[in-house]
């Protein structure tokens, strides 16, 4: 799931300028490049698949309107994440209710889920558990967990996106994990197998729970 983040400031600026000038092809390229990541981010703040799509759409409209203001002070990906994150947090505040698990988890299953219906169901349950655990976190802790663990950004990138020092990212992650340990302990730590096989073990645990 590692993203091929653009690290070329000149390329970033060129793309932003072309989009700002109304180049449709450049915007399509931009949507293809950042769409999957933004959709994955939006999914964590949306109540359902349709809500995810609406949120993704709003974010891209905002990005399109704002890209003329991109000055290249940071990487384009960081800027995109910052705008998207603001939108997600505002969206989450607007709803004023705790996040619900996806109402149609069948939609949007990824490559890491087997075609086997039983395993897919187990993976869906794991996702729901994680989503519920994440929704129990404070907005600050949830944001940093989503960016670092799910979007695989570094501490430095998270700090830049959230406009906080790296030390704050570090401590927020630690406390977020302590909270997650409390909410996921029974599910994740019920097994005794090696850490490298833990994901599979969690699936096994989930299967037993279902039975």
């Amino acid at each position: 799931m590692h993203q091929d983040r653009s690290k070329n400031p000149r390329k970033d600026m060129a793309m932003a300028r072309r989009i700002a000038q109304g180049d449709r092809a450049a915007f399509a390229e931009f949507v293809d490049l950042y769409g999957p990541r933004i959709q994955a981010l939006a999914r964590r703040y949306a109540a359902s698949q349709s809500d995810t799509e609406d949120l993704t759409q709003e974010i891209f409209l905002d990005l399109y309107r704002a890209i003329a203001g991109f000055r290249g002070a940071s990487a384009l990906s960081t800027w995109v994440y910052r705008v998207a994150m603001n939108h997600c947090l505002k969206h989450s505040e607007r709803r004023r209710r705790e996040l619900q698990p996806l109402d149609d988890p069948e939609i949007g299953t990824g490559e890491n889920v087997s075609a086997d219906p039983a395993r897919r169901a187990i993976a869906g349950e794991l996702r729901d558990k994680v989503q519920t655990a994440l929704s129990g976190l404070t907005p600050e802790h949830r944001a940093v967990v989503i960016l670092h663990e799910l979007q695989e950004l570094t501490y430095g990138e998270c700090a830049e996106i959230l406009s906080v020092p790296v030390g704050t990212v570090k401590s927020r992650l630690y406390y977020a994990f302590r909270a997650l340990k409390g909410s996921l302990a029974g599910y994740v730590l019920g097994d005794t197998c090696a850490p490298e096989n833990n994901a599979g073990a969690a699936l096994g645990t989930a299967a037993e729970t279902i039975r």
């Binding site: 293809d32 704002a66 906080v164 570090k170 994740v188 490298e196």
Partner: protein
Amino acid sequence: MKCELIQTDLKAFCDNELPFPRRLAIRRHLAQCPACREEVTTMEKIAENLQYSSQSNEPLSDNLRARILANASQATGSPALPSSPRPELGEGPGVRAKRRLSPLTVAGFCATLALFAFFAMRQGLFRLQPPAPSPGSSGAQDTYTLSKNEAFRSRIDAGGPITIDGQPPAVSTARSVASLARESNAPESTGNSPSAAAPMAAAPAGDLSGDFSLDRQVHRQANVTVQLKDPEAASDQVVEMTKDAGGYVAENDLITDDGGQKSAQMTLKVPVEQFDTVLGQIEKLGNVTAKNVTGQDITGKVSDASQAEVVLEDEVARSNAHLAALGRRAHWADEEDARQVRIELAQARARVQLLHKLAALADITVSLTQTPKPAPPAQTGFLSNLRGNGSAAFQSMLGTLSAVLTALIWILAYIPIWGPLAFAVWYTRRYLRETRA
């Protein structure tokens, strides 16, 4: 190391986001602490499950992609698009975007500051000389003196070493620290009286109000160059002065150069209370040509070293207790660890002692140089003139020759260009002459 001290770094340890020394320290701790090891394992498991639960970044559905592009097209149609304002980034909870100040605002702010500083200096608000003591206002007076000393100290703290120009204050544009110190402590003193001694120093700063000054540790250094007739005799005087002040001479070199000029290089260690006294006496020996006084606040270093000492003492006690508990079962690696901690403790103690010594003893480096003898009159005479003129003539001839040589090379190099031209001119003239004939 206690678990509480490293717990907040455990997640960063798992993510490999710690600097190497910290990572090493945590690794050492984990080797001894099963609870923290378990915590790390738990965090790794949670992270793996989070990553497993996250769906891959699947591409947008065709429908969504089309809607996004259509939205953009509609937005392009609106005239406000090119100059549409950037959305406020800092509105979401927990997210604060950095706002940039416009150059005009910054310029206005700087101009206001400059104006304020200008008028404040004109009004004498920044003068460090305390006002004349007036009876009946002791409380306010103390506060004022304290603030001046604080200001003075903050210069040392902020700037680290402060260099003072040795030139007279009338020439120097910057106010020297020495003069500031004298003003702040004893305005009428010349720097030689004991009352003006060590205004920057920690221990002797009894003239500073409040306790805050007592725990400051400042290492003072001075370099002074004095020009005088007899450096040898003067160096003896400096040795005597240093001994009288309770210090010692760490280095004393007497040098005579090829021209017979004598000079002496000395490094003195004097108690910080006597720093200004000794410096003043040295300056009186002759003409001061250069002077450099620095004060470095080492309070932070002393504090760090002391804390390290305390922590290591605790470590030593724990390792001793651990060894005692193990008894004969103690492994050689445990004993090696205990020995290592004892060595680190001894090093920390030595560091603390050294820093205290640095704060207690000031360094003065003295260069005593002999007043230069009048230069011998230049030799005049037929032979010297001839030698000088001959050399100049030779140089001139070389210059002329090089010009000729350059011209020759130029002519040869451009033959392909001017050759045909010259031939054409010659041929034309000849042809015309023949025609006329």
